[in-house]
């Protein structure tokens, strides 16, 4: 284990750790907070809430986003809900149960202390959001309503129709706007961070490109917070927004921050299937639909053929000829098994030849039973906007015919390694939300990403960063004329010039799509040694092609979207390789990481706790050189490790 990998998990029993830790870490006085600058990169739930909370505390905050407004960040697209251990439905939920479900859902590959803290602060988030005016769904009595999500047997998910992420982000964005108006936060929109600047081994600022003018800018600070989300777009087709990218995390990795569990990517079971080569992204259908929707494929091969030839409709297949395979295989959780389990089960049926659309890569999500039970009106109230979205895309009315769905890349559990304080291996550099690795292990449960983003931003980072900044009250504002800034700016300009000077023939998307195919085929839902080795080889070849045959039109000093993409895809071409390498060296199956060689007779994941109960973290050693892998062992002091069981 590297000496840099000190997790700083506090001593004591699980429920005492965070309380004790808060009491022990240092705080900064209001007068000194005014002298300290913090840069927050990204304005999703993590970034917006952190920037707002730090601004409220009195720090000088600079917040950066690549869109034209902080409100566009991809957290906005989260549909189904946010978990909290309120136990409002009186179904015996508790902080402990939320903690336990999350650890188990992550297939025992996340840190106990972090996850417990997450569950502990979950309730505060709901209080905070309600105070901000987030219009959560309510019962007729005026109190908050809950629904269920995968991987749990209680109803702990708070929601605002199918737009929960949007409403939570608008809450955080509003809090941020208030601080911008008060002058504690300065907002830089249409700005992209291109490098981290370090002085004497500490994070001291960033280099950013103004995306409108192309100007390269220097920004200094006492600490930098990365909240730029995940890297799912390495697969080209994913549910991520088009501009979501992993470049900031990658820049930090190349400056020395360790990257943890890069191969842990989540494949979401309920997405609208791929329709053809012209497709640019995949659309998610919320997991909340699995509360009332039942997933099935035909039992008989002849029905499958008739469906594909469009000779019959799904609704014409009688009940006895339908295989509700999740209910069959997992009676205790049924349609609400965790995402990785549901995705693999869909793949299994499609691989066996029961896929229901022309490509053979789709299963049905059916609301017939729910409409019969509850009436169309109730279903419309619960999922109206999702049904509308589905119909607009596919031209099929899901009230009459079942939806067709298939798994797609959705979220990355891996990310920058952080300690209990959310600090990376670089002092002064913090990572929050999806950008870090800490809470979800091998698989994230539904409605937990929103919870983590806001927990980190509102309630954890503002405390822990104070401990670091307390040591900086004597340190002056960072001088952006320091040679470190000059050097960083120079190397960025050279990199951009290099991209323009390739002057090849292919647009960026050509390479991105090719990379996506390699990733999906070999580093996707099922992985094996030969495939992963092949992926690494093919990515290396593709990367060479990219640097020989890319064409970036236009100039550097203008609004240039092709250049933006080129910078990001250049990084994806490196990240993909690290993901494959991580998957190759983790010779076990856990959560979303499914190594075909390691499975039970029933096709479930087969963990190897003896050899792989650790966080794999990677240290960059230079371009084209093998990175070094370090291990942070995971210790389970408080819960009994078991094989995940969703059957009974």
């Amino acid at each position: 284990m590297s000496e840099k990998l000190i997790s700083k998990i506090p001593e004591g029993t699980l429920s005492e750790k965070w309380t004790k830790h808060k009491a022990q870490i240092r705080v900064v006085s209001p007068a000194n907070k005014r002298k300290l600058e913090v840069i927050v990169v990204g304005t999703g739930l993590g970034g917006a809430s952190a920037a707002a909370a730090l601004g409220e505390l009195g720090y000088n905050v600079k917040v950066f986003c690549i869109s034209d407004s902080p409100r566009r960040a991809h957290s906005i697209a989260a549909q189904g809900g946010i978990n909290a251990a309120k136990n409002y439905p009186n179904d015996n939920d508790s902080v402990y149960r939320l903690f336990y479900d999350t650890i188990k859902g992550g297939d025992y590959r996340s840190r106990e202390a972090n996850v417990y803290r997450l569950a502990e602060v979950s309730n505060l988030i709901i209080d905070q959001c309600v105070a901000q005016g987030v219009p959560f769904a309510r019962e007729y009595g005026g109190l908050l309503d809950n629904r269920s999500f995968g991987g749990s047997q209680v109803s702990r998910t708070f929601y605002a129709r199918g737009q929960t992420g949007q409403q939570l982000l608008l809450g955080a964005y509003a809090a941020l706007n208030r601080q911008i108006e008060l002058g504690t936060v300065k907002s830089y929109v249409r700005h992209e961070m291109l490098d981290l600047v370090m002085i004497d081994g500490e994070a001291k600022g960033i280099i950013a490109r103004n995306l409108v003018t192309g100007e390269i800018e220097r920004h200094g600070a006492h600490a930098v917070v990365v909240a730029t989300g995940g890297y799912g777009n390495v697969f080209f087709l994913s549910t991520n927004a088009m501009n979501s990218n992993g470049s900031v995390a990658w820049q930090c990795y190349k400056k020395g921050a360790f990257f943890a569990n890069p191969s842990f990517a989540q494949i979401h079971p309920t997405c609208i299937p791929v329709h053809g080569e012209q497709q640019s992204k995949l659309t998610l259908m919320s997991e909340s639909l699995r509360n009332d929707g039942r997933i099935w494929v035909p039992k008989k091969q002849e029905d499958v053929i008739k469906l594909r030839e469009k000779k019959i409709k799904a609704s014409q297949i009688p009940e006895e000829d339908r295989d509700y395979y999740l209910e069959r295989r997992y009676p205790a959780f049924g349609n609400l098994v965790p995402r990785d389990v549901a995705s693999r089960a869909a793949k299994e049926r499609c691989d066996a030849g029961f896929g229901v659309n022309e490509t053979g890569l789709a299963v049905f999500l059916d609301f017939k039973t729910a409409i019969q039970r509850l009436g169309k009106k109730v279903i419309e109230e619960r999922y109206g906007n999702l049904f509308q979205m589905y119909e607009k895309i596919t031209d099929v009315n899901p009230y009459d015919e079942p939806m067709m769905i298939y798994p797609a890349i959705h979220y990355t559990m891996g990310g920058l390694w952080v300690d209990y304080n959310l600090q990376t291996t670089i002092p002064g550099l913090y990572a929050i939300g999806e950008a870090n690795f800490s809470d979800h292990g091998g698989n994230r449960l539904g409605a937990s990403a929103l919870m983590q983003g806001l927990a980190d931003g509102y309630f954890i980072l503002p405390y822990t960063i104070g401990d670091y900044l307390a040591g900086k009250i004597q340190v002056k504002m960072t001088d952006t004329n320091h040679p470190a800034f000059e050097e960083a700016e120079k190397s960025i300009k050279e990199r951009l010039d290099r991209l323009f000077n390739i002057k090849g023939k292919q647009p960026v998307d050509h390479f991105h799509k090719k990379l996506g195919h390699i990733m999906w085929d070999y580093v996707g839902m099922a992985r094996n040694e030969a495939g992963l080795k092949k992926a690494i080889e093919e990515i290396r070849v593709l990367r060479e092609e990219f640097w020989k045959d890319l064409f970036v039109p236009g100039e550097n000093n203008e609004f240039n979207q092709e250049l933006e993409k080129a910078v990001r895809v250049a990084d994806f071409l490196e990240m993909g390789e690290l993901m494959a390498m991580d998957a190759l060296t983790r010779k076990e199956s856990c959560g979303g990481h499914f190594r075909e060689e390691m499975q039970t007779e029933e096709g479930e994941t087969l963990r190897d706790d003896e050899n792989y109960m650790y966080v794999s973290t990677w240290e960059y050693t230079g371009y084209g050189k093998e990175p070094v892998k370090h291990k942070e062992p995971l210790q389970y002091e408080f819960i009994k490790i078991a094989t995940r069981n969703y059957k009974d």
């Binding site: 034209d68 906005i76 409403q167």
Partner: protein
Amino acid sequence: MDFTLKVWRQKSAKDKGRFATYKVQNISPDTSFLEMMDILNDQLVREGADPVAVEKGCKSEGPVAFDHDCREGICGMCSLYINGRAHGPDDDITTCQLHMRKFTDGETITIEPWRSAGMPVIKDLVVDRNALDKILQAGGYVSVNTGGIPDANTIPIPRDNAEESMDAAACVGCGACIATCKNGSAMLFVAARVSSLALLPQGKVEAARRAKAMVARMDELGFGACTNTRACEMECPKDISVAHIARLNREFLKAKIKD
């Protein structure tokens, strides 16, 4: 399907701008409108990269700049005036949710940016919507700090109020209402936020102050006045009702009377 595209090209805010005509072919009806734009841009980038064409004097203007991100109708990043309508010829959607099956084979499609004084063009079809952030900064929030909040269920809210608040909160801040309004007014955008918060007990406390501050900021930034043409409501991708403008006016009047 094949289409002829008349696309607005403008190099920068200072450039005068003009229409350019392009052709795209073999487009699947299941392709989304923005995927069709991707295909156009792929063509344009390849033209620019073709040394033979460039030698022959072909001056590619490069790909068309347009804003887009989530491509599922929620981030509000995409815009576009398509055949004279904000977000194109389908109801209750943003441009990214528009599919080519809504057009006829061989059709000529005209594509323009939002045109409104409050949202100047940055390049081609991309406009500057920073003014919308500034309006919200003036008061589009409940003034509470993080932490020290009582339990969420201590404030019961009638379900109908919560639902109506949610209807208004569905605004994605795309700017279609402003682009559609002949006065370039941002009233529906402002009203959506003011009304959403005014309907909730948490937001009531400073409802009057909020309405006044946001309207003042809107005026300051050069947006026009509302003359009740209801065009905004027609083109809102989230179907936000002008009834919220009535609520904004009520809050605004209350504030003015108190002054």
